[in-house]
Point group: C2
Chain length 339, copies 2
DNA sequence: GTCAGGATTGTAACCGATTACAACAACTGC
DNA sequence: GCAGTTGTTGTAATCGGTTACAATCCTGAC
């Protein structure tokens, strides 16, 4: 079953069939209709490998993430895939596992499969790897770390606003001893969130106690350990803002283990709003970073960059504003009590 | 940069380069070495589309799951992808979203991309869709619902043994009023788990109280609602076994909301051992169904079915034995007390 | 020295589409 | 009635590999 069979049945050449399939306007409506009927009758669908070879476009987008088992990503992958499939594209997902060697393999996979564009949703992408995509003229879109001036579309998350919302919320509840559990310092977005927090506290004239600025690893165990250290302090915080939800979940776990209640004894705010956060007890107050919005922008960036008719498009910067979701892990500052 | 460039540099024909790349044994060691040096020097890598077109093998495996945001799947996807990439394969992941229409699209995507094999890790695959793979001579492997007699490899999970371990554990802790919260009845594996539980109770001579056999939906909200109903009973259970971890997490949420403690007031056992289960409070006692093992078998099934030299291989049935992981959500039956 | 036969290498057809270019038909205006 | 357009379709080269088959080179036996 190939294009020739369709051509024979419709009594046209393979060129006309091809043009019909690809929606060329150079086919007479009546002819196109005949071709479509032949396609329908034969149950024909094109061989994508031949298409890719002939046209130089694979109709595949690459999606590079750090780790699909990190709950931040599944929804992002799903949304991206959804959008791609609806537009006739396929998606290849690759995990860097936070390792440079694996990242190199990811890039190689993308190049070998001749992707028509690549969305890089992780920050471990060295300049020499970016260069390989550049050389292959492959459109790119990054999360946070793109550079439109260099032809790389970017999805810019307004961490400052998101973190500020969290601080505002906590402060409005009366809290003044606010701790922060950050992410790993080698992660760009974690550093940004930390900076944003410090700036937000400063802007409000709150003193920044270095002891309350903890470092985690964006995983549950990191949140746990950091909270243990915070509980060891002479002057404990009354509220904690975590750099992501997993960290917040770990922190809450430690609080429970110590017999402390959330939010009565301590308020906790997360970041990201991973799916499970809404279902925990207490349901987590957090700053939602919409993965659907990220996926949407990522796809659009690649899709419009790849349009042939209009020639190469300039790289674009998209902005995403996170949104505070108030649930049950935060409460007004309780009157101080001694156990 | 194509195979001709390599051939020129190594002073051989393209056929010899191709044979070298594909590890044919018909190339003299010295020649092969020269070709490899040329490949190295030019930084050449083959065009996979051309390869697929010429050889009829795409080096892509399809992986059909129901929903990547279901925490059961990410680890499975990751393991499968890992194994595939290590063996020079690419993976296309498709979500059915539990819907027949989407499932049909998934199948179509696989056929269009000419996958060399497909792992179906969900049970919504109608016979007519299976038939399309059959017609395309595409090796298949299913989870639980395969049929080796019909050429479909199968990964058989011994739910009976797994559930029995859970029951044994609960019974050995002194519990006799044991409730079960099942999954959706239209899900094959959920029905199997339910059957296994009933059989296990019966085998132990425990009376089966229909009111204690609840139905959930394999999501957190289903577990919650089911537990609400169980708490409404005059004679509450002292232990609950859930059909999967999300259900157990929902159940625990409801217990907490009612001021009941786990495991002191009620023991809870999950199934699957999703990643987060180890980090909850209390850490969930559960029956681990290794996703790495599933991925491993799935890949092996497809890989050996696709070997050319040995001709078509018969479909195989693999077995997986789940394993009880005892954590902190189960405890010995407490002496009865009236509030 | 010759020759069978295995090992190695090359030639060229083929996979199934896309697309530049040529060819042709129909229509326009003069 | 004819040249010039415009619109539609066909021809055939092309993409970059794989692989059947042919050709050549060696080797050792006789």
């Amino acid at each position: 079953m190939n294009i020739q069979a369709v051509a024979d049945r419709a009594r046209v050449s393979t060129a006309t069939v091809s043009r019909t399939i690809n929606g060329s306007n150079k086919v007479a409506p009546k002819t196109a209709e005949r071709v479509r009927r032949a396609i329908e009758a034969l149950g024909y669908y094109p061989n994508t490998n031949a298409r890719a070879l002939g046209s130089g476009r694979s109709r595949i987008y690459g999606l590079i993430i750090s780790d699909i088992t990190n709950p931040f990503f599944p929804e992002l992958v799903k949304s991206f895939e959804d959008m791609a499939v609806r537009n006739g594209y396929e998606v290849i997902v690759a995990n860097t596992g936070y390792s440079p060697e694996r990242t190199e393999i990811c890039v190689q996979r993308m190049l070998e499969r001749k992707v028509d564009g690549v969305a890089v949703m992780t920050s471990e992408m060295g300049a020499h790897l970016i260069d390989r995509f550049h050389r292959g003229q492959i459109p790119m879109v990054f999360l946070d770390t793109g550079d439109p001036a260099n032809g790389i579309s970017n999805i810019l998350v307004d961490y400052t606003a998101g973190v500020d919302d969290a601080v505002e919320h906590i402060v409005s509840l009366g809290h003044r001893h606010i701790a922060f559990i950050g992410g790993p310092m080698d992660l760009a977005s974690a550093r940004t969130r930390r900076q944003a927090l410090l700036a937000s506290l400063k802007r409000r004239g709150l003193t920044i106690n270095k002891a309350l600025i903890e470092v985690g690893n964006h995983r549950i165990d990191g949140g746990r350990a950091a909270m243990e250290r915070l509980l060891d302090l002479d002057e404990r915080p009354t509220a904690v803002i975590a750099s992501n939800d997993l960290t917040a979940i770990g922190a809450i776990g430690t609080l429970h283990r110590h017999g402390l209640r959330v939010p009565e004894d301590m308020s906790v705010v997360g970041f990201d709003d991973i799916e499970i956060s809404a279902f925990l007890h207490p349901a987590l107050t957090t700053v939602r970073l919409s993965r659907a919005a990220i996926a949407d922008h990522a796809f659009q960036a690649l899709h419009r960059a790849g349009r042939r008719e209009t020639g190469p498009q300039p790289a674009i910067e998209y902005r995403i504003r996170p949104e505070l979701i108030v649930r049950n892990s935060t409460a007004p500052l309780a009157v101080k009590r001694r156990p």
